[in-house]
Amino acid sequence: MSETVRTYSTQGGPRKRRLQGFRPRHAVLIVLLVLAGYAFWTTRDVHPIARFIPADQKYCIEFVELLETRTRIAQSSVWSALPESVLAGEVPVLLGLDPESAGAPPTGMFGWVFNNLVPGSLYLTGRDLETFEDVLVLSKMSRVGCLLERFHGLVPGVDADPAGGLGLRKVSDQGLYYAVRGRVLMASPSREALIRSLVLASEDAMSDEVLDAALGRAGREHVHGTVTLAEDDPLGHAFSSVGFAMRIDPSEAQVACRARLREAFRDQWHTLLDGAVPQPLTVPPNGMLTISADFGKPVRDVWTGLAEGLQRYGIEAISSEDWRAWEQPPEDTEIGPQHFFAGLLGPVGPGIRLSWCGVDLNEIVPVPEIAGTFDADAEAIQRFVDATPAAPDDALPWASFARYDEETQRVHLPMAGGPSIEPTAAPCAAGLLASTSKTVADTLVATVPTEHLPGEGNLYIHVRPHPCVEMIVQAGRLLVEQSLLRGHTPESYDATTGEWLASAASIEHVSTLVAVERDELRLDLSLVCTRAN
């Protein structure tokens, strides 16, 4: 063993030897590893979306997997079918799709960047339900998106906004602010709203569970969400909150709503809504616009309930006093159609089916043809027949007195014009059939449907817009041909109604089912287009 004193140092020696074998690529590798580690670390998904959503927001909407669904949504024929007034035509543009390219997604570098910035669901939330100026948009970016965002300084028009250390960015030409926390991207036209979201105390934010429950209240579809309404908000007088889910397919849209009724509103409509529980509804007679309703009460009470409810909003279109006067007219009153129908229909129900079957353009004046079937037992029908006053002995055969024809078991009321203005009622399989038109009554009486609609509810409405518009247009044309339609020449009329017809032609039908369940109103709406793009 050597006695030589050995000196050990932390420098030189082995290190030197190691350095002698070091290659530059190793350094690059190390840097890359460090950077990767940094990137991985700083782009961890550490913040739930809910953490940035104030618990007191009035609305919160989720667009599920927007990048996957937006092309499909934008290309749906639903938007072109809706009136321009509801900005439906703008939807593809709002979704960032170029209408010129028929809604094709962005491509190239821009598309790649965009896809990484908003790869998943998109959330919209805010408090202002009138101007939406404080809308906050949230989304989770991909890691790549997060890293790309760090190079915002290279993008012209994006400026840093320190905001007291919050590190906002401002997209000047869009008037938009955004910030990134973890993988969460938040953007808003309102700087205050964005700051509020960033500094939100955890107890003031939504929890994941609460957010999830709120968004899925009416189901989970392409778009779903919830809206909380103050009394002075639009519809706020009626509902305290509304949850909805909307599915947009190439040629149809389904919307489900669950709305919480306000106590005061329910009181206003209590005559109509009390006792109303979802019921199986019978299919109405075929028509362009059909309604099936069951509010658990006879027609008289439905009318009264509607009249009282509408009266509170200053709408005097129908009145409960009128109905009473019609149902029990003074003895010297000449019986008109209103007396006929009120006397006939007052006690029947609760199932009510109404159909607008068309317009008889050839009548002495064009008249709509309306038919209805009503739940009624034989006793109720007999009561009405017995109550039909006999026409005076000297009455001419065509005088306007309600008459009962024993052979056909029909009650009819001759009026001006032909059979399309001859109210007629007859027993039928669904109870009682009544129509403004004898022709319609004769046609329908043996074929009224008795089966039930799928699902339960209190009110079902089904509209086929094109036949409705076409009928109205044809009736209007008769008027315009003789200069009886204000403000139109035949040419201007054709130009105007041509647009209506084209728009209506794109919708096959719209149907909605409404149910009242205690303090909640359930509405399921379906819009089906005639063509898919």
């Binding site: 008889d360 001006a416 003789q482």
Partner: protein, 797 residues
């Protein structure tokens, strides 16, 4: 050989002669064939299914038929003289709709060209309707039933085919009988009726009748109320049965109604219900058979006249198309004229007189032919409110239009000339007014004025008639009108209704003035009724609670008489006030009699608010609201003054004519000539006021309420007049621009609404006229020499 040649030549000559004879015979026989009459007749039932609405009564409310009392028929006569063939169809319908005619012509046999197919309706009010597509006529005709239209048209066409296929050598004769009591005037007791029953008999070569046609004027409206919904041909149905019984079942009885607009069927046997209907039909058939039985038939030359002329303009232009169909048939010297609607009997009688004057030996008027344009009332009825005039929409001179148009289709005599029209006169804009000179007959003069001011007349119509109707100001306050939905263009219905309501105001107007208005309407491109509504819109508006369309007094006026006028003897000063924006117009008129008069007014009226004629007669009017609303019982004041200006000669006659206009209310009229002046005040009674101390004011300021602006105005005028011992034109001109600072608004003689100042020198036949300028001041006076044959107004100063 020679013998053979001779024989050959002889045979050849003989053959040649035979050929020539044969050719000549062929030509002549062909000519004979061309002149030989062929005729055929057929009938087909057209009874509609029960439930089809019946036509003719609005109070049926379009309800469908519940029973068939007797069938209704289409009957057709085919005639062919070898050169001209025709179908004459009579149907038991109320009228021939355009839809029916168009479809029948599509389905008709092609052997006869469409312009020689004449469709007529008997006008039974129990025949089926349902063949009108337009909404407005559906109220009487019931709902539109395309299937009924189609089956009716098909059966009519089938009747034609049968008549054509049954044609045979025939002969034709015509004659007339008379009736007394089978018809009566339904509007005027003992009023005009047509005593003639026209008869045409068509027989075959054996003398057996093929068809007998009667032409008789009376509404088939004898069916009682309880049978209102029963299908029936009315009395023509009984006539057919009876005549075919008398003449033999092979004979097709035909019936065309005449000028029946105001004719109803009589009741000579004083029956009720169906027996009455039967009685008329039976009696008519008996008389027709008597005439037909005596007729000598032979060949005939047939001529069919056809035209599709442009109709006169109508106020109901949204209801009726612009053209119609007119037909005439001439059978030798018999003329049949076919009216596309319901002519009143006067039109039929006058048409006959005109035809006879032109050399025809007989004339039948047939109504309800080929089209339905409602009623045609004679000129003298147009102002009288009754059903027939209320359903007449082509102006008071529609009868003249028919005479003219039919005259163009007749082969005898010269066609009547179209109404004379002169070139549109030049409008000279001078001194703040437009000046024109119009000359010629009334229509020509009116046409010149209408054409010269067409734009402003049409605008006036839109502003004072259509717009107030559209806004509801000028429509009746009854429920039907006010409850109409807001999308309904109520003016389309309200304007014609207003026109009907305004027609009684025409009562008493000289027919020449009506012609002038007719010309003015034509010149402006409007209907007569529209033009008339422009004239009386202000009076109509005054009847409503809305603001009067002219809230203007159109005054001041005064006269200096005798010594106060110096050598002039009478001088009249007048400020013409008008609140509207209408540009003033000076119309210098020389009528067809050489009379001249000058009016200061507006282009849209033939009336005179201020004027003078070549005899020195002056008229001016002032509205005095305290004396009452203008009455609608006669023409507006400006038209009364206009008649006086053109017709009266001297102050006395003018005053008398004014006093005779008992309908006037709410006006003062100053009338003067070279000898004196008067003011006629039209309140509950008319009062004539003369000058006092050589002065005469439009209103006596002492009789006016102190808060009436006229009180201050006329007090001021009186003061100014009293200041001068003898007044001159210049002094009066100075007074007319007086705007005393202590007076405001209408209290001033020259106020914010004064549009023109006029000083009249009746003795010198001169008018000095000045107009308000754009800066509000009065312009320079221009002098108009109103002597006969003087140079036109506006051409000098």
């Amino acid at each position: 050989m020679a013998c053979e040649r001779q024989r050959y030549q002889s045979n050849h000559r003989r053959r040649t002669r035979c050929v020539v004879v044969l050719l000549v015979w062929t030509v002549f026989s062909a000519a004979n064939i061309a002149n030989a009459l062929e005729a055929g007749a057929a009938k087909t039932e057209i009874t509609p299914p029960l439930g089809t609405p019946l036509n003719g009564y609005g109070d049926r409310l379009g309800r469908g038929a519940v029973a068939v009392h007797d069938q209704v028929w289409a009957r057709c006569l085919y005639l062919d003289d070898g050169e001209t063939n025709l179908f004459l169809v009579n149907t038991d319908l109320c009228f021939i709709t355009r839809e029916l005619r168009d479809r029948v012509l599509e389905l008709a046999p092609k052997e006869v060209p469409p312009e020689r197919i004449i469709l007529t309706a008997t006008h039974t009010h129990n025949g089926h309707g349902g063949m009108v597509r337009g909404l407005l006529l559906r109220s009487a005709s019931g709902r539109f039933m395309p299937e009924v239209l189609e089956s009716t048209a098909a059966r009519i066409a089938e009747t034609m085919r049968q008549a054509h296929s049954l044609r045979k050598r025939g002969a034709i004769g015509y004659g007339t009988g008379t009736q007394d009591g089978l018809s009566k005037n339904r509007r005027v007791d003992e009023g005009s009726t047509d005593p003639q029953i026209g008869v045409i008999r068509v027989e075959d070569a054996d003398g057996a009748p093929i068809a007998i046609l009667a032409n008789f004027a009376a509404h088939p409206t004898s069916v009682g109320e309880r049978d209102r919904l029963s299908v029936s041909a009315d009395y023509p149905g009984y006539y057919y049965s009876e005549l075919e019984k008398l003449a033999g079942s092979e004979c097709v009885a035909m019936f065309t109604n005449g000028a029946q607009g105001n004719q109803t069927c009589g009741n000579p046997e004083e029956r009720t219900g169906w027996p009455r209907t039967e009685s008329i039909g039976r009696l008519l058939a008996g008389r027709v058979f008597d005439v037909a039985d005596k007729l000598v038939c032979g060949d005939a030359k047939l001529t069919v006249g056809y035209a599709a002329p442009q109709l006169p303009r109508t106020i109901a232009n949204n209801w009726f198309p612009p053209t119609t169909v007119l037909h005439t048939i001439e059978i030798n010297d018999l003329l049949l004229t076919f009216f596309p609607g319901e002519p009143c009997v006067e039109l039929g009688l006058r048409m006959r007189d005109r035809a006879l004057e032109r050399g025809y030996t007989a004339q039948f008027t047939v109504g309800l032919a080929d089209d339905y344009l409602l009623y045609f009332a004679p000129t003298e009825y147009y102002a009288k409110p009754c059903y027939e005039t209320a359903a007449s929409f082509y102006g008071p001179f529609v009868e003249n239009w028919f005479y003219r148009e039919f005259s163009k289709l007749m082969t005898k005599g010269e066609p009547e000339l179209d109404l004379p029209v002169r070139e549109t006169p030049e409008v000279n804009a001078r001194a703040g007014a437009d000046w024109i000179r119009v000359e010629g007959g009334p229509y020509e003069r009116g046409h010149q004025q209408g054409a010269a001011f067409a734009g402003r007349i049409v605008r006036k119509f839109e502003e004072t008639v259509v717009a107030p109707c559209d806004s509801g100001a000028l429509i009746p306050k009854a429920e039907w009108w006010t409850n109409a939905p807001s999308f309904i263009n109520i003016a389309t219905v309200a304007v014609p209704r207003l026109a009907i309501a305004a027609r009684p105001m025409l009562e008493g107007l000289d027919e020449r003035l009506l012609h002038e208005m007719d010309g003015m309407a034509a010149g402006a491109g409007l209907s007569f009724d529209a033009c008339w509504l422009v004239h009386c819109a202000s009076v109509l508006a005054a009847q409503t609670d809305v603001e009067a369309l002219y809230g203007s007094p159109f005054c001041t006026m005064f006269a200096a008489v005798g010594d106060r006028a110096g050598a002039d003897e009478v001088l009249v000063g007048r400020n013409f006030d008008w609140a509207g924006s209408d540009r003033p117009v000076v119309i210098d008129t020389v009528n067809e009699r050489g009379q001249r008069f000058v009016r200061v007014g507006f282009g849209w009226t033939t009336g005179a608010f201020t004027g003078m004629n070549d005899s020195g007669l002056i008229v001016c009017a002032e509205r005095v609201e305290a004396l009452g609303r203008p009455s609608t019982e006669g023409p507006p004041i400006e038209l009364v003054l206009r008649e006086i200006l053109e017709g009266a000669n001297g102050l006395k006659a003018a005053t008398a004519q004014l006093q005779a206009a008992s309908h006037l209310r709410g006006y003062h009229v100053l009338v003067a000539d070279s000898t004196s002046a008067r003011v006629v005040e039209f309140g509950d009674e008319s009062v004539v006021r003369k000058s006092t101390g050589g002065l005469l004011l439009g209103a006596d300021s002492e009789g006016l309420e102190a808060d009436d602006p006229r009180h201050a105005r006329y007090t001021r005028a009186a003061k100014l007049l009293e200041e001068e011992r003898i007044l001159s034109v210049a002094e009066i001109q100075g007074m007319l621009v007086d705007a005393a600072p202590e007076c405001q608004g209408q209290e001033r003689i020259f106020n914010g609404t004064t549009r023109a100042s006029v000083v009249f020198e009746p003795k010198a036949r001169k008018m000095h006229v000045a107009f308000r300028q754009d800066d509000g001041s009065l312009g320079d006076y221009l002098t108009i020499d109103v002597k006969a044959q003087a140079k036109p107004a506006g051409s000098g100063s």
